[in-house]
Assembly symmetry: C2
Homo-oligomer: 425 residues x 2
């Protein structure tokens, strides 16, 4: 695919220097959307006139001056309906923007529209297709933001992640993605699903773009200098490595080989057996908290909820308070042990998804390798691996320790650069 | 003061049984508001017609059927402006109710109006007076909800707590209050201040009312049976006990004596010196997170922020990322140690505030004894102590371990009952 615009970092620099304008960028992107959107269906709400108005009025000196951005439809927006892919909220128009949407606007970004999500960012899918293969899912729940990125409808897009909602679509659509440490980015104006895990994240065209957006959405964000020595990386397979398809395992092994030949160290990391319980504990907490978060919709509009969401309520009703508390206590007890095991490494590596994007739009595959780390609130990055012509994208997951977001981005930048360089790109 | 209506539990039972109606209750309360509100100033938004309409349409079979409720003006409401005591949001009208406001309505509650808060639930005060002495503050930040409770404008009121915002006004105004474990109650539609601590809580006229509201706002809320044996209680003074006025210390000691003579055990609990750092770590995290939460207001409307809020930004700017991360890591490391120390007790006791409500409306006094426990997300209750005619209220704080909310309420019910019984009331 031809990129109609460069990455956000280059784009905003061009606008700030006066080499281009937001209006010119907007027209380029609008043209592309007009051509491809009927096939991709990234947007649930889109209005070209609004984009043009914003382009005329935006902050042309901000960090994101003139950068087209897609916003998942779980963020409130004052100029687009916010519907959570639920008929309960058909046409619902919030009065104000979510905190992060305001910060994007203040930084000069152009909000291109609201992108398709699964129902309440849970499982029930929308109509969005994977731009790499329209018969395949883009992943969920941040489906429209990811597909729109892959189709070059915008240079940055907002998503959220509770289990695998940000990184899974990144893996399936071949995108750079960053889910910061839990609690760093304001959730004001974002519909909650499971508050113990809910985190705002974003897609970019490069690691430096992930970093640029972090500076906008996390005021005071600090990035340490990292010495230019070889990296010490840990590779953790988790107890579910048997779910990784050979195609994905091969791609990951090749990536590790390339990092080794670039001079870095990559050690296999083993964790005690108790860590095998993290997957189920995450599921259990997600069910119980999800049922509480959607209690008001369940009480008044049960008939309008999808079967997969209703199934979550059934599982929550069959779970006791003590079981939920015990699951949370187990995660709290494992957190310092995980921290200790990962302390020697500059970052951790692992699979992002065990498969490429599956065929069909209704099911989007498991999120186990993503939610393992998300259960502890650790920051996560997806690095799209270089792939052969015609093959589907595969992601390498990189993970930092809690609140080591800045150094994770620094390390990810080197890893991404070395993976490309080594392969002659 | 004469109580125009009984507690919420009795009230809703009367409505459900058809002994009274929400319309009758509404008129009783509206009359009281008309008489006293000019002196108290609990409401920032109030509309008697809306109350009457709601009373005609409410769910007369819900757990809170016909119960008048006050809502702090940091919760979004679809039928009242939501202004956070900030000129930036003058007249701001949200499109939908906060999650908990919807749950209250679904349960049959009558929303009486929006109550005064400090600016963004931080420090800058509003005009509300303490009904026990109009020259004194009702405490902050849930000032209007607390003063309206003490003036019998409603039977239940919503507040929030980040440092001491729910329990301090409860202590100053003589109210039962419950701040559940962090993360149990949805924050959807609540303006964030410091997301690591922000928690929804409420005031009631009895411990059973605190429990009744918990059943509405925490779907699936479970309360264990507690054996009718004598209680094992721990009393923890904290490292700031020297800030407790003799008047408050005496009242607390008398309460402990009464509990002992009722057959319970109350042991003094000591904690290691490291726990003396919790106060400053809470402050530091509150500053840094508060500055991030209000970043959009700071960037566009700095001139409209109060000096106390701007001072928070100054402190945050002088704090490094590493200092904030270290403070969070210290709290995370202390949490399991606190849990272990408190494990032997059915609940912990301590001062709620070191003083009675101070004179003046601009400053509301420290929150140290409250935020010590809030730093760990533990559930907290205020029990108003019986007091001599003409003296100001003093609160006994009760604290449960994380997610032991149900047993805390059970234990608080016995403590409250024994404190009253012992004194012949």
């Amino acid at each position: 695919m031809i990129r109609p615009v460069p990455d956000a970092t280059a784009l905003s620099q061009s606008v700030i220097k006066g080499e281009t304008t937001a209006a010119v960028i907007a027209e380029t992107v609008l043209e592309r959307i007009q051509a491809l959107e009927p096939d991709i269906r990234a947007f649930v709400s889109f209005d070209a006139r609004k984009v043009r108005t914003d382009a005329a009025l935006h902050n042309s000196r901000g960090l994101l001056a003139g950068v087209p951005v897609g916003v998942k439809d779980v963020f409130d927006s004052a100029d687009h309906p916010t519907q959570f892919n639920s008929p309960i909220y058909a046409g619902h128009q919030p009065a104000r923007d979510a905190h992060v949407v305001t910060l994007l606007r203040q930084a000069g970004a152009l909000i291109m529209g609201k992108t398709h999500t699964t129902e309440f960012a849970y499982m029930h899918t929308g109509p969005t297709r994977n731009p790499h293969d329209p018969d395949r899912t883009p992943g969920s729940s941040s489906a429209g933001s990811a597909a729109g990125m892959a189709a070059d409808f915008f240079a940055v897009a907002l998503g959220t992640q509770t289990a695998g909602s940000l990184l899974k679509p990144a893996s399936y659509c071949g995108l750079f993605a960053f889910k910061p440490s839990f609690g760093l980015v304001s959730l004001e104006g974002v519909k909650p699903l499971a508050p113990s895990f809910d985190t705002v994240g974003w897609y970019g065209r490069s690691v430096r773009d992930l970093h640029l957006v972090a500076r906008v959405l996390i005021p005071g964000f600090a990035v340490p200098e990292v010495e230019p020595r070889p990296l010490q990386l840990g590779f953790y397979r988790t107890a579910r490595w048997d779910q990784v398809d050979p195609e994905v395992a091969n791609a990951l092994e090749q990536a590790v080989d390339h990092l080794l030949s670039a001079g870095h160290q990559v050690n296999d990391v083993q964790l005690p057996d108790e860590f095998a319980g993290v997957f189920d504990d995450h599921l259990l907490i997600n069910d119980c908290e999800g049922a509480r978060s959607l209690a008001k919709e369940f009480q008044e509009h049960r008939a309008l909820l999808s079967p997969s969401t209703l199934a979550m309520f059934d599982r929550a009703a069959a779970t006791t308070w003590e079981q939920e508390s015990a699951a949370k206590a187990r995660l709290a007890a494992l957190a310092p042990r995980l921290n200790e095991r990962c302390q020697p490494y500059d970052a951790m590596l692992g699979p992002c998804c065990g498969m490429v994007a599956p065929v069909g739009l209704e099911s989007t595959g498991p999120s186990d390798f993503i939610k393992f780390w998300g259960a502890f609130g650790w920051p996560q990055v997806n690095i799209p691996l270089v792939r052969a012509e015609g093959s589907m994208p595969i992601g390498l997951q990189m993970i930092g320790r809690f609140r080591n977001d800045g150094s994770l981005l620094r390390v990810a930048e080197r890893v991404a650069s070395d993976l490309l360089t080594d392969r002659g790109q």
